[in-house]
C-alpha cells in the first residue's frame, strides 16, 4: 500500500542533506565548473530523488568501507534501459559513502546534445565521456563514474540480462595517465526495472539514436537495488598510458572479473522480485562464470 511518508524525506536524511551540502558548498567555493555543475540544483535533485532511492528502489549499499578519501575512477556495470543506475550510484556516493562526494558521471555524446536534458545532466554533474574532460576533473580532485560497456550495457534484450558487455579500454588509459585507482562497482536489480525488452536495432540506426527498446512497462518497476562496491584496484606503477593494447586488455579484463565477482555475490543475495524471471537468469550467469574461470 502506498505510504505517503515515503514521498517525504526522513528527518535524519533532511539533516544529513543540509549538512552534506554545506560541506560541498565549502569544497566548491572557489571552483567554477566549465560544464555548469550547479550545487543548488544538485541539492534540489537529491531532495526530490532520495525518497525514490530509499523507498521505491530500496537501495542497499555494500562495501562502502572500501571507499577512501581520494579521487577514483568508479567503474560500474551498466544495466536497465535508461541510465537510472548512474543516478542511484551517484546518490549512494553522496548519502551512503564516507567521505561523500559528487561523482561526475560520463555520459553518451547523444545525451549531451539533447535540449533541456543535456543542460540538466550537466548541471547535476554529468559530463561528456571524453578523455580531456576526465583528465581535467581528476586534476581538480574529482571522482568520475564510468560505464565501460557504454550504451551496449543498457540496450540489452531480456535474454542478455546480467551479461557484461565487452569493456572499452579508454577509461583505463586515463587511469594510467592520471595514476588514479579504479573502484569497481556492481549494480544488481536495475535490469528488472524493465523486465521484458526487445531492441529495434535497425530502427534505432535509422533514427540515429543509440538504442530503441520496446518494453512491456513504460515506467521503471520498483525492483530492489543493491550496489556493491569492491576493493580499489591500484594502477600498476610500471605501466604508462601508451602501453600496448594487450597489456591494457589484461588489466581491463581483471576489472571486468572483479565486477563479475560482485555480480555473483549480488545475484545470490538479492531480494525477491519477479522471481520466475530472475532465478533462471541468476543460475545461468553463475554457471557461465564458473565455467569460464
Amino acid at each position: 500500500m502506498l505510504n505517503l511518508n515515503h514521498l517525504l524525506l526522513s528527518p535524519e536524511d533532511e539533516q544529513k542533506i543540509t549538512h552534506l551540502f554545506q560541506e560541498l558548498r565549502e569544497k566548491y567555493r572557489d571552483y567554477k565548473d566549465p560544464w555548469g555543475f550547479n550545487i543548488d540544483l544538485c541539492e534540489k535533485a537529491v531532495r526530490k530523488l532520495l525518497p525514490v532511492y530509499r523507498h521505491y528502489f530500496k537501495v542497499r549499499v555494500f562495501g562502502a568501507e572500501n571507499v577512501k578519501d581520494h579521487p577514483y575512477i568508479v567503474t560500474s556495470n551498466h544495466s536497465g534501459q535508461i541510465p537510472i543506475d548512474g543516478m542511484l550510484i551517484t546518490i549512494a556516493f553522496l548519502m551512503d559513502v564516507s567521505p561523500p562526494r559528487v561523482l561526475r558521471a560520463m555520459v553518451e555524446r547523444f545525451l549531451a546534445q539533447l535540449p533541456f536534458l543535456g543542460d540538466f545532466t550537466a548541471q547535476t554533474g554529468s559530463i561528456l565521456g571524453d578523455r580531456a574532460n576526465c583528465s581535467y576533473l581528476i586534476e581538480n580532485g574529482e571522482s568520475i563514474l564510468v560505464f565501460p560497456e557504454g550504451v551496449r550495457g543498457i540496450s540489452k534484450n531480456t535474454s542478455d540480462f546480467y551479461k557484461l558487455r565487452h569493456f572499452s579500454e579508454g577509461f583505463y588509459r586515463i587511469a594510467l595517465q592520471k595514476k588514479t585507482p579504479i573502484l569497481p562497482v556492481c549494480v544488481i536489480g536495475a535490469e528488472e526495472m524493465f523486465p521484458f525488452v526487445f531492441h529495434y536495432k535497425k530502427v534505432a540506426k535509422l533514427l540515429k539514436v543509440p538504442a530503441l527498446p520496446l518494453t512491456a512497462n513504460l515506467f521503471p518497476l520498483p525492483s530492489p537495488i543493491d550496489i556493491y562496491i569492491g576493493q580499489e584496484i591500484p594502477i600498476p606503477e610500471h605501466m604508462g598510458p601508451e602501453a600496448l593494447d594487450k597489456d591494457i586488455k589484461e588489466n581491463v579484463y581483471h576489472i571486468e572479473n572483479s565486477i563479475k565477482r560482485l555480480m555473483i555475490t549480488g545475484l545470490k543475495n538479492r531480494r525477491p522480485f519477479i522471481d520466475p524471471i530472475r532465478k533462471p537468469i541468476s543460475k545461468y550467469i553463475i554457471k557461465e562464470f564458473k565455467g569460464k574461470s
Partner: protein, 318 residues
Amino acid sequence: MSSPKKILIIGIAGGLAQMTARLILTENPEWEIIGIDSRNVVNVPPLKNLTAINLKYSRGNFENLFRTHHFDVVYHLGRISHSSNEQNVLAKRIDLSVMGTNRILELCERSGIKKVIILSTFHVYGALSDNSIFLTEDAPLRASIRHPELRDVIEMDQICTNWMWKNQKSISTVVLRPCNIIGTQIQNAMTRFLSGTIALSPMDYNPFFQFIHEFDMAHILYKSLDTVPTGTYNVAGNDFISLREALNVVGTKSIPFPMILAGGMNEVLKKLSINVPDYLLDYLKFSCLISNNELKKHLGPNFLRFSIKEALELIKLR
C-alpha cells in the same frame, strides 16, 4: 622597444586595428604605420605617423606598397567577417580572406619582413556537442563539419599556420585565435547580440562563453610584436561565463526561446535579411572553450586587464 619600425596594418578600417595602431604609436611615437583597407578609411582617426589608404590587397598596387616601403612588421587583421552567408559575400570572403592572405604572405616572404601577426578566430574549432573542454591549439578545426560556408575561415588559418612553419627560420609569425572579442568599437555578431535591446536566450541550452575586451585584444596584438614567439595561440582569459549570466551582466532583456525552433525561424528571418549567422546558433547551444596555456607561457598568468564581467559591463557603454 628597439629601433623605429615601419608597420603595415591590413584592415585599418576595423575598430580593433585602429586601437592597435593607437597603442603602438602611443608607446612608440617615432614608429610609422601604414594602414590599408578595402573598406572606406575616412573614419580612421588622424594620428601622427599613421597613414590610412583605401586599397584592395588583392590588387597590383598592393605589391607596390611593399616595394616602396620597407616594412619590418605586418599585421594581418583584414579577414572579412564571416557573419554573412550571402553567396556574393561568400565569394568576396574567399577572394580576400583566402586568395588575399596567400598574396600577403607571399609578399611578406619576398620583402624580407621579420614579423607577421595574423588575427584568426576561435570559430575555426566550431561549437559541437562533443567538444572537449578547453580546446588546445592542436585540436582539429571542425567548424566546417556543420557549416561548410565557414571554409574560408579555416582555410585562411591553415594557410597561415602552414606558411608560418615553412618560414619559421627567417620570419617570426604569430597566429592568434581569440575567443569572442567584445567592445564598443568592434562590430561583430556577438557584440551586437549581447548589446541589442532584446536577445533571444536559449531555454533548452546554456552554453559557456569566453569574452575578451577589445582593449585587451589590442594589447595582446601589440605585445605579440616582441614578447610572443612563432606559433599559434588561443587568446582567452582564465574565466568563462554562461550565456544566461552574460546576458544578465550586460542587462539585455532576454526572451527565453527553444533552440529547437531556432533553425526554422532563422530561415524565415533570412528572407527579411535580419537573420543571425547559422554558425552562431550552434554557439548558443554548445560550448567552445579554449585553453590559454600556451599564451600564458609568454604573457604571464594574468595577462588581461579586464575580467569577463568587466568586459561585459563595458559594452553597456555602446
